[in-house]
Subunit: 343 residues, 2 copies
Amino acid sequence: MKKIRRTVGQTGEFNLIDRIRRILPVSGNRDLLVDIGDDTAVVQIDRRRALLLTCDIQVEGRHFLFDRTTPYRVGRRSMAVNLSDIASMGGKPTYALVSLGLPAELPVESFDRLFEGMRDEMAEHGAYVIGGNLARTKEELVVDVTLVGEIAASQVLTRHKSRPGDRIFVTGMLGASGAGMEALKAFGKKVPRKYAELVRRHVQPVPRVEMGQRVARAGIASGMIDLSDGVAGDLYHICEKSGVGAEIHAACLPLPERIGEIAEISGRSVLDLALHNGEDYELLFTVPPDVPERKIRALPGKTGIPVTEIGKIVGKRAGYCLVDARGRKTPLKPAGWDHFRKG
Amino acid sequence: MKKIRRTVGQTGEFNLIDRIRRILPVSGNRDLLVDIGDDTAVVQIDRRRALLLTCDIQVEGRHFLFDRTTPYRVGRRSMAVNLSDIASMGGKPTYALVSLGLPAELPVESFDRLFEGMRDEMAEHGAYVIGGNLARTKEELVVDVTLVGEIAASQVLTRHKSRPGDRIFVTGMLGASGAGMEALKAFGKKVPRKYAELVRRHVQPVPRVEMGQRVARAGIASGMIDLSDGVAGDLYHICEKSGVGAEIHAACLPLPERIGEIAEISGRSVLDLALHNGEDYELLFTVPPDVPERKIRALPGKTGIPVTEIGKIVGKRAGYCLVDARGRKTPLKPAGWDHFRKG
């Protein structure tokens, strides 16, 4: 009888992460505040400061296609997704290391544009690429970025402490990236100008670094996460770790202009775009009910980025659901993007 | 006329790094002590401490082949090469982030063994894997490790300050890894036991972390580097950055037992194995002539690792050469391993 060997392709990202957690020892080091399983590791430097460490590997054909994007944008995006992870901790990004797996056929100009994109994205946040490593791959471009950030030790946020009764807020608009993607699919290179902003949100996500720092400094959040996999998937991570449930109010979701038109064109519902489409890179955070309203109203400051209440944390037994305008509840599917399964 | 587009495959690693250096801005940050172009970036944390950051990307088919090694060993090696970079700065390794590009067909057991190897290699140095990221690739396994370390700010070593007259030392034996590789090529799985130690040095390099710290604490080195590309190539990096030349004395090179036999079997010269074969992961460092001899003799301590003087730094005009037993000089080819060109 042939022994069937299970492959990583059959296993899925979250199971693989569980396996890693079982294999790796828990560090006994007291300076390690957050480790495996969170997007960003936190190491205490001294009484006042903590170091943030995060990495994200992007593979051609999986995370980007050169017939739909440019090397410059891949460079910007590779930094943006990491900046977003630092933002979700309320941190200040400082330095990045870049490892590249390069197919021999990549034009040198593409190589240059890639680094120009990284440089420009980092510059917007006063951060720098300070090192890296190059290797050859057969055919796929692989871009792995490790980003370092800093935060006041007293402001370290994890996603473990959301409690029933906490209010749920998001920054910006939900579903813009998904709508932009659908616009590109429908119109190709001839996207009508009225959808340009949606497309821009898809091809060039804006990490909410300043807003993350504002939330952390305000000291009002019991948990925070960046929306890379869609509200439904990312909020579920917070709920799982805190052992709680959540209710999202459909009528409260902040929606970008013209998302309704794109929903019609693409045949997807507005709710699907807003809840299940990843890559908005907005921040979602929970706030205990006793936090004064003025502190929340003060969050946008001069950023121009809206902060919207979209629901509340409930007990685990109350479940994980969407509430419609008439108060009817339907279970919310936590389906996000498994970066690993066949896609 | 067709415009010919130059590819990265035609460009070579060092030219690509030059391009990166031209594109990226120099950080004005005063805390950044060493950046792009060195294997390890150094960021000052406070008056007493500095952070070390290094990364190394290894690609299946290029850095390792599963018909010649095991996933466990790939895991150990992926950490070892980074630990060696931290060692070359005299630092103490603390934490690693691991990004993996995984082909779907990789057996889950291989995935587990990979992490067990990483864990065991890190454990030998009191360091931990604390985060990472997974992605799918088409066919190659890609392992990118970012390693963080720490060092006293007063002990930060760069490779820029070697001066004519400085003495050149290496730890351990040279050419062991190359000889082990040739033994494997010649004998396959039936390598005679007498060559087992050479093979071990090839398949499981030992980063000289403790020795690196001993050199840094002694405060005697004007420059240090780890031997990943061979003495001839790596010493050349030190010389280029310091604007100096060097003389290596062939008769002084510390050679492992039985390297002569392997040279004969493989048809390569002993000198070629010792000077041009990378992956010994020993340390090479330069010491100003006025450093007391007893400080150098004290370096091995209880480590059991020999420290051998192999030559001296000379003026740039005096060149870069090998001196034979009769005092005759021949130019030393700085050829190392370009990780990028077709190999």
